[in-house]
Structure formats: structure tokens, C-alpha cells
């Protein structure tokens, strides 16, 4: 009798009360601003489309980085804090190669196109190798021994090492780099405008540059390739099996360590690709760009359901679009608050993220 009494007390549905509270709050305080926002959207549909396209492009590269978090988390349940900084190193590496090949906006497309592809592949190989080596030297030794915190803290350490590496990279003044690092070591580095910025939708009142299309196109190809790899190939199957149950996978003859390395390699390659794309798209790389990008992408991974590949893509897209909407219809200085506010609300209703299921949340 007493026992069931305590249970009754424990069963007060705090979570439901919290949800009801949030719903009441939203209805009371956000309905009017929301109606205003919708009115503004309808009043200028071309601007709305432009902002959606900006959100799509930003979302595409955020998704690329977010996948690195989700792949690693899905398999070893490690939040790889160094991932954002790996992306930054990707941008620096690609800029160095661009300087080495002396690519300028005047380079003819027949030369520029293939060379950019070479830069992309080399950058992806560089960040993939780096990520794999970090796993082998830093995280693997901590796996299975002691608490999961040890690996997490060393990831933060690696993040600092990478950031300082980026800082030192700015001091590189090698003669064959054609001065791409500028004269000031810690200042933002300027990329040459190698992607054309011609408006593909000229005449419609909406702007969608060729470079936007390149970013979206390359991202979609990479995302699709990754999805097919994970769902259709033997190695992908091994990855999924390791993510579900590492011990059982090992018993079935899967080389678990090699599979984990593979996750780091894939995540690293995507971060590198993203670094190069963003560098050329935004035109700038700076040694501390990894922090903001990492935070955004990690948020995207959590929003979509960490460990879930499609979830990370969806999360990236949502964050991109929400940011653009907030910049346009609320105010730039509120954008971070809006993005994280929405994250909190979604997590209250779906603690495992939009597409995450309970098995993904093994922690």
C-alpha cells in the first residue's frame, strides 16, 4: 500500500506539465509575432524564396559537418568536439593547395574545374587521414577503459590542438603558396572567388548564384554517396552492426576497430569537403571558424536525432532555414537564441531528436 502510494507521487506527470506550459507560453506570446511574420512573408514572396534558398545552401554544408558528429556518435558514443576544428583545417588545407596551384578567378574553366576537383579530393583525404590518426592515437586507447568522459575530454584537447595548428598555419609563408595566407597571421584568410557568382534565376527577382548551386550540388552528391555506402555495402552493413551492438558485431567476425576507423575516415572526409566548400562560398577562412560551425552542426545532429544519418541531414537543413528566417524576420542578434530555443522545445517533445529512436540513444 505504502509502496504504491510513493509510486503515485512519483507519477506526477512533470514532463506533461512542462509541455503544457510551453504550449501555453507559445500560444500567449508567440502567436501575434508569428502572424506578423507570416504576413511579411506573404507580402514579399521573392524575398522569402531567396531566404529559403540561403537556408538550403547553409543547411547543406552544416549537414556535411553534422554527419561527422553523428557517424562517430552512432558507433562509439563519443561527441567528437574536435570535429569543427577539423573542418577549419580542411579550409586551410584547401586554401594552401589553391595557392600552390595558383588558381585565380582568371584561370580558364578547363584548368580550374579539374584542379578544384583535385583540391577537393586531396582535402578530403587530408582531413580523413587526420581524423583516423587522432582516433588511433588518442581515442582508441581510452575506449572501453574507465569512463566515457576520458575520451570526451581528450576530444576537447584535440580541438585546442587543431585550433592552434590553424593559428600556426597562418604563419606559413612558403614561396610556392603565392601569398594566399596574406600578411597577417591571425587575420581571416581571403579565398580567391573561384566559384562564379552569376545569378542563375536572373529576371525572376530571386537570387540563386552559381556558387550556391555548386555548394548544394556537391553536398547532395556526397550525402547521397554516404547514404548508399552505409545502407547498401558490406562495410556499411558492418558499420550499422557495430553501431547496434559492438560485442555482438565482434562475435560475428566484424573487425570493430577497423569499422570505427572507417566512421572517423568518412566523417573526416565530409568535414574536409565542407571546409573547402565554405571557404570558397563565403570567401574567408579563420582559425576559430570551427567553433561556431561545430556548435551549429552538433546542434543539427542532436535536432535530427544523434546517431541517425538522415536525421543529421534534416537537422542541418532545418538549422540553415531557421537561421535565415530569423535573420530576415526577427533580427540577426536574436538568431542564436531562436535556433537554440527551438532546439530546447523540440527536445522537450522528442528527447531523442526528430528522427532518433530510443535505441539510438543508448547512453
Amino acid at each position: 500500500m505504502a509502496a504504491s502510494h510513493t509510486r503515485a507521487v512519483r507519477n506526477v506527470p512533470w514532463r506533461s506539465i512542462g509541455k503544457i506550459f510551453i504550449v501555453i507560453f507559445c500560444v500567449l506570446f508567440l502567436t501575434l509575432p508569428f502572424i506578423e511574420m507570416v504576413k511579411a512573408m506573404i507580402a514579399d514572396p521573392q524575398l522569402l524564396v531567396r531566404q529559403l534558398l540561403i537556408g538550403l545552401t547553409n543547411g547543406a554544408y552544416i549537414a556535411l559537418i553534422a554527419l561527422g558528429y553523428t557517424l562517430v556518435y552512432g558507433i562509439v558514443e563519443l561527441i567528437n568536439f574536435a570535429h569543427g576544428d577539423l573542418y577549419m583545417l580542411g579550409a586551410f588545407f584547401s586554401l594552401t593547395l589553391i595557392g600552390t596551384f595558383a588558381l585565380t578567378p582568371e584561370t580558364p574553366w578547363l584548368v580550374r574545374g579539374p584542379l578544384l576537383l583535385v583540391v577537393l579530393i586531396a582535402t578530403m583525404a587530408f582531413t580523413a587521414t587526420l581524423n583516423m590518426l587522432v582516433d588511433r592515437w588518442a581515442y582508441r586507447k581510452l575506449r572501453g577503459v574507465g569512463s566515457r568522459m576520458a575520451a570526451l575530454i581528450s576530444a576537447i584537447g584535440i580541438s585546442f590542438i587543431f585550433q592552434n595548428l590553424g593559428l600556426l598555419w597562418g604563419y606559413l609563408r612558403l614561396p610556392f603558396m603565392h601569398g594566399v595566407m596574406g600578411s597577417n597571421a591571425v587575420a581571416p584568410k581571403s579565398f580567391p572567388a573561384l566559384f562564379p557568382n552569376v545569378n542563375l534565376l536572373a529576371g525572376t527577382g530571386v537570387r540563386f548564384g552559381a556558387k550556391d548551386l555548386i555548394v548544394v550540388g556537391v553536398s547532395v552528391v556526397l550525402l547521397a554517396a554516404l547514404y548508399i555506402f552505409v545502407t547498401r555495402t558490406r562495410l556499411g552493413k558492418a558499420m550499422r552492426a557495430t553501431a547496434q551492438d559492438r560485442d555482438a558485431a565482434a562475435l560475428m567476425g566484424i573487425d570493430v576497430n577497423r569499422t570505427i576507423s572507417l566512421a572517423f575516415i568518412l566523417g573526416g572526409a565530409l568535414a574536409g569537403a565542407s571546409g573547402m566548400l565554405v571557404g570558397l562560398y563565403n570567401g574567408t577562412a579563420v582559425f576559430d571558424m570551427g567553433f561556431t560551425a561545430g556548435l551549429r552542426s552538433f546542434t543539427a545532429a542532436v535536432l535530427g536525432g544523434i546517431g541517425n544519418i538522415v536525421g543529421a541531414m534534416l537537422g542541418g537543413l532545418l538549422i540553415g532555414i531557421i537561421s535565415a528566417m530569423s535573420d530576415q524576420y526577427i533580427s540577426t542578434k536574436w538568431t542564436n537564441a531562436v535556433v537554440f530555443g527551438i532546439l530546447v522545445i523540440i527536445l522537450v517533445f522528442r528527447p531523442t531528436g526528430l528522427l532518433g529512436d530510443d535505441t539510438a540513444q543508448k547512453a
Binding site: I54, V186, T292, S331
Partner: protein
Amino acid sequence: MKRVSILFVLMMVASLFASCGSLASVGNGSTIKIVSSLPRTGSSKGQTDSIVNAIKQRLEEANYKACDGKFTIVYEDMDDATAAAGKWDAAQEASNANKAAGDTSVMMYIGTFNSGAAKISIPILNQAGLVMISPANTYPGLTKPGKGEADEPAKYYPNGTNNYARVVPADDLQGAAAARWAQSLGAASVYVLDDTELYGKGVADVFEATAKELGLDVKAHDGIDGKAADYRALAAKIVDAAPDMVYYGGITQNNAGQLLKDIRAEGFTGKFMGPDGIYESAFIEAAGADAEGVYATFGGVPAEKLEGDAATWYANYKSKYNAEPEVYAVYGYEAANVAMNALNTVCKADRAAIQAAVMGTKDFKGILGTWSFDANGDTSLTAMSGAQVVNGKFEFVTAIK
């Protein structure tokens, strides 16, 4: 055991050396130390290099002696930026100020470069009775009542006396001058942005207020996140609002280059203007080709347009350092000039007397002309200039009335 005793002996020897060192600096009463605290790491380095050069230039002219050789001057160049931040850092500035306050041979604190940093060091130095001269702070609230927050500037001076002066005109002048210049450039509508820092928001607020008084159409005033990856959505919003000019109140180090690139990439073809926070080569480097045609305002007149004593200074600087001084170099020189004048007048290693002498500077014949500090510690000079990027360099355009 043996190792422990060796360690012990080593420690003894080390502490002996340490105590000798401190004895020497206390024992020699005829040494006066002047320190400066400026962002020496990061992209402000170009500006601060030339300020430090100018300070050294002034001290060398005096052979590092004050009061007819009675005092030897030691100059220390402190850095208030960290590599990790890439710009000034609050903790580093506080540490510099505390270090200077605690060193009894320090009689003069030249700095800071950024107004936000001054907010931190003024109260620390105020309680230590140490005078501070800034060659570059322009946020009005640091000295002027009624121009900043309600409790400014009193909250920076906890002991009630004024220990802070600046040799540059403040932003209530600069923001207003910028708005007047914008109007004379033919801008009828403006879109105001700021970097949400003390300096940037301060100057943008004044710009906005003056622009409204002048009858310009202020489309909007937004704050930007200086760490954001891009500003494309904001840029689309600006293009949609179609202003004649975008005014950015802020510093290069809060992503001004990226902001301009994104605004241009979205197809904005109007004017872009900023305050002296972007008046440096680092901004042009960050913005690349998009920097062409950007307008910037700054206090005073550019070095190569200086006349009289200042022209002589400019020639000396160029021959000595074999480089063009950046815009604040002349203020670095003038700050050291005021400092030396006060030391020579007081002729005592007495912080309170030196502070009184600096704050009471009247009709001082400096290289910028004859000027005074008013009761708030502001210079009586009010000259403002406008410049524009031409062929990858800021060129002087006009003196703004």
C-alpha cells in the same frame, strides 16, 4: 634523498637570484616606468606596431631621460590580446592593469586601443591612483556624462577622481561626422549595423541619431554576431531594403570583411561606410577586392596631410622606421608627449602629482597643434577626416566639418 637535496639547493639559488632582482628594482628610485597596453597579437597589430614605434620615437628623442636626467625611463610594451581570441581579451587587459598598478615604479599607463578594454582597466588603475592616457579609445561614455549609459562615466572612477584622458576625439563627434559625410556623399537612406561591442554600438547609435536629425531615411539598425560563419541572410534583407548606404559600426576583428563580402555577393552596389575601427590594412586584406570604394571616418587628419611640427614628425617617423605610420601612430606619439611633459613638470616619482599634471594639461603645444584636456579628460581637438579605399589602400578624401 640525494635528488631532493639537489632540488633544494637549486631552489635556494633560484630564490636568491629572484630576491636580488627585486631588490635592484626597488633600490633604484630614479627609474620611472611607462607601460602601454595594446593588442599586439591579432590583426590590430599593424595599428599597434606603429603606435608603439611612435611612443618609442618620443622616448628616444628624450634619450629615455626625464627631468634633465634625474630619472631614467623604462618602457614596457604589454599585450592585451591573446592569440586564441585574435583580438583584445578582457582577462588579459585586467591582468596588465593589475600588474602595472602593483609595480610602484610605473607612473604612466598608455592605452588602451579598444574602448571595451579601457572599461576594464580604468577602474583598476583608478584605485591605484595611476594615470592612463589613451591614444585610440573613442567610446564617449568613458569620459562624457550623458553620452553613454546612465551610470557612465562615474562607475569607472570608484575613488572619485579622474585618472583617464584621451588624445583622440570621441565617437559622439565621429558618429555625427560620419552621418554628415554620408549625406554630403548623396546617401538619402542608410542601413545601420553594429558589432554589439561598446565601441561599435556606441558609434552606430550616434550615427543613427544624427542621420535621423539630418532627415536621412534609416531603414533599420541590426546587431551582428561577430563570430558567425556568414551574413548572407542579413545581406539579402539589406538588398531588399535597398538603402543607398550601409553603415557598419564596429571593428575589423568582428568579421567586417566577411560582412562586406556577403553584402556585395548578394548584389548590393551602394556605399559602405565604417568608423576608424575598419580604417586599417587588415580590413582591406580581409575583404579582398570588395574593399574597393569603402568609406571610413577617423579622428584627426592623416599623417601625410599633417602640417607644422606634425609634418616634421611624419618625416622623422618614415626615415626612422622605413614605413608609413598607421592612423593612430600620431596619437601614440602625442600620448607619450603629454606623458613626458607631465613627468618633466612634476619631477617626482609621485603618481598623484603626475596624474594631476596630466589631467590638468592646458594649452599644450603638441604636434597636433595647441590643445587642452577638458574636465572630463577629453581633448579640445575635434578635427575629423574621411577616407576611401582606392586601389587597395585607404586614401584621404576630405576633412569633415
